[in-house]
């Protein structure tokens, strides 16, 4: 993590939902991480892994089953409703389905001004003017403030959501798949807008996405989530160049790349299907799909540990990260799928030869 003041400190956060018949599904289980002020943290993982549940638990929508969410040193899970209402303007969220997230019956100018009404900021007659100002800042025509959401395209609705979130002048902006329903040309516009606003306002951002390439372009650090657990947190560059968790490696190798051509060699998971979170596998939750499973993985659950290089990994047998850039290049060329033994052999032979 970047050196600096910690804005958000999440400890042992667990989110549970009733699944009927007395069963409980644990969407997020025992997750801990920190975010520094001004940092952008990416959260990636397959659908159903608990990314959105984690994001919603941070803003206490609904309150998590257990754990702490320390925001500027204050535990949000312990504060009363009144205090939470005071704090919420400082944590805002943008949702994936922008059209569904806007009230269809309300004029967009009113929608954007609504946070000001709720937090009682500014004089009532100034609020619409402030909303128009914000519309200009996010690239919308202030003249269209009297229109309703259905008259706007998906990209424009996303801009309206961003404008609404920024009105409350948040410190932490949580973006839950903000661009996944948009076309690439519009996606680029929205990402650039978010980046501009982030630098201008010094926002701290939690950026959730299933698109690894988008995350790489936006985030300083990336956390990888699998079945309610974090498996790896690392600076973006490191994570993509030298993934330590086999799941991270599989996610990265699954990114479609035009350079690969028709014949592609990739990391293949043992099983393409994500197990049910109702009944997660024993030991390491990834063992049913991991290409490197060993007996220990069935028995004990690995904990998220710091590897001493600014990286945290939850794996008994992480992919080794060597320190020599020459070997790094060699390995990346050989491909991750050769596995650890080959990497070690390569390392040894290099050490002896030099």
């Amino acid at each position: 993590m970047k050196n600096g003041e910690v804005l958000l400190d999440i400890r042992n956060l667990t989110v549970e939902f009733n699944a009927g018949k007395g069963r409980k599904v644990c969407a997020v289980s025992d997750v801990s991480f920190q975010m520094a002020k001004g940092e952008t943290l990416g959260l990636v993982g397959e659908s159903g892994c608990g990314k959105s549940s984690l994001a919603r638990a941070i803003i206490q929508l609904p309150r998590p089953a257990s754990g702490q969410v320390n925001f500027n040193g204050e535990d949000l899970t312990a504060v009363c409703g009144k205090r939470l209402r005071r704090l919420r303007p400082r944590l805002q969220m943008i949702f994936q389905d922008s059209i569904a997230a806007l009230n269809p019956r309300r004029k967009v100018g009113q929608t954007i001004a609504m946070p000001l009404n709720i937090i009682r900021k500014g004089r009532r007659e100034d609020r619409i003017a402030m909303a128009r100002e914000m519309m200009k800042a996010v690239g919308l025509d202030p003249q269209s403030s009297d229109r309703r959401p259905f008259e706007f395209s998906g990209g424009q609705c996303q801009r309206i959501q961003i404008a609404r979130a920024l009105m409350a002048e948040p410190e932490l902006l949580i973006c839950d798949e903000p661009v996944s329903s948009l076309d690439v040309s519009i996606q680029a516009q929205i990402i650039n807008l978010l980046e501009n606003q982030r630098t201008r306002r010094g926002l701290t951002m939690l950026f959730i996405s299933h698109d690894m390439a988008v995350v790489k372009n936006v985030c300083d650090r990336v956390a990888v989530m699998y079945l309610g657990k974090l498996c790896e947190i690392a600076p973006a560059q490191d994570l993509y160049q030298t993934p330590a968790h086999p799941y991270t490696a599989a996610l990265i190798s699954a990114i479609p790349s035009p350079d690969a051509g028709l014949s592609q060699s990739r990391t293949h998971l043992k099983n393409a299907e994500i197990p049910s979170p109702l009944n997660p596998p024993s030991g390491c939750r990834f063992h049913t799909r991991c290409p490197r499973t060993r007996p220990l993985c069935y028995e004990s659950e690995p904990v998220l540990r710091d590897n001493g290089q600014g990286k945290q990994v939850a794996c008994h047998f992480p992919l080794r990260i060597d320190l020599n850039p020459k070997i790094k290049k060699l390995i990346s060329r050989a491909g991750y799928r050769l596995g650890n033994s080959t990497l070690l052999l390569g390392l040894l032979s290099y050490c002896f030869s030099s």
Partner: protein
């Protein structure tokens, strides 16, 4: 037309100046506005474009699945193995569907019947088209599920769509589509609703099945990277027309149409460092309700000149490469940006 032999002398599918007019409450939508292309057996053509460019309407038109109110423009032709499908009666078209041309849809949950088991849905096709006995159809359905990569097909066959995961549902949809051994498969955004890890498996499966059966495939996608990795040829669509078409390699290295280049440049690159500004395309795609004057991309293009606003460019071959078609008056030549 019966399941006649494929004529090797002509392309399997030839679409000529296909125009569709879809009447809606707000006016007539010209979703496909003069689409022309050819496809040979065993080849994959990827159709790439942003949402609303007419990709899905094109697919549905090929299968005759447009709404009843839709009008196919005069002079439009869809020649499948020499037969013009536009002129076929509904009854004759039903023989073509599934047996000759099959389709996979984006969202398998809505394209599968929720109150029918997977097995019955596969068997239904076989019983209707191949006149098979129910028992034999069921046995073949198990084989088909197996070849579509569904583990434990004997148990899965009696399950309903909601009991399967998204990836498995899409595999079941593929099994249904391939039941009658079609010669042409149309895959409309087959992996858009799926995770990347599952997407890979589905695309691999489609590739293998296609190679094994020497099928032709139209792969519709909005993801240029998928198109480049999985198709022989790529056609880029914009506002109801193909604006550039070439082999996957050519299109990626030497695209000439400014739209294709802009689209390519707006994809976030995996090798760029964090906080790299992306190249976005200003504005948004044109409204297909209004007739388009001149080049449809002109209002968003950085190289627009006067002629672009008045004359609609035709899809013409490049002088050096006859298989590279471009619809632009002032194409970009030379190294890609």
């Amino acid at each position: 037309m019966s399941t006649s032999a494929i004529r090797p002398d002509i392309p399997l599918l030839k679409v000529l100046n296909l125009r569709t007019h879809l009447p809606t409450e707000r006016g007539i939508v010209h979703a496909a506005d003069g689409v022309t292309f050819e496809l040979k057996s065993g080849k994959t053509l990827a159709v790439v474009g942003e949402s609303g460019c007419g990709k899905s309407v094109l697919c549905r038109a090929l299968l005759g699945l447009l709404p009843k109110t839709a009008i196919i423009g005069e002079g439009s032709g869809i020649f499948y193995n020499g037969t013009n499908l536009v002129e076929l009666s509904e009854k004759a078209y039903n023989k073509i569907r599934a047996q000759e041309i099959a389709m996979i849809f984006q969202d398998p949950l809505s394209s599968l019947n929720p109150v029918m088991t997977i097995g019955r849905q596969i068997a239904e096709t076989l019983i209707y088209h191949k006149k098979m006995k129910p028992g034999a159809a069921r046995r073949l359905a198990i084989d088909l599920l197996q070849s579509a990569g569904v583990p434990g097909p004997k148990q899965r066959i009696d399950q309903y769509p909601h009991q399967l995961s998204g990836g498995m549902r899409q595999r079941a949809a593929i099994a249904i589509a391939l039941a009658c051994e079609p010669k042409l498969l149309i895959a409309d955004e087959p992996t858009t609703a799926l995770d990347v890890t599952v997407q890979e498996g589905i695309l691999d499966l489609l590739g293998q099945l296609q190679a094994k059966r020497q099928m032709a495939m139209i792969l519709v996608t909005h993801d240029l990277n998928i198109a480049a990795a999985r198709a022989h040829d790529i056609a880029v669509m914009y506002a109801g027309r193909i604006v550039e078409q070439a082999s996957a390699a050519t299109l990626f290295s030497d695209s000439c149409m400014p739209y294709t280049r802009a689209l390519k440049n707006s994809i976030p690159r995996i090798d760029s460092p964090p906080h790299t500004p992306l190249n976005s395309i200003n504005g948004r795609p044109p409204n297909l309700l209004r007739p388009i004057q001149g080049c449809a991309f002109a209002p968003r293009c950085s190289r627009t000149r006067e002629l672009c606003h008045t004359d609609r460019p035709l899809l013409l071959p490049e002088p050096e490469n006859r298989r590279h078609l471009v619809a632009c008056r002032y194409p970009l030549r030379g190294a890609a940006l």
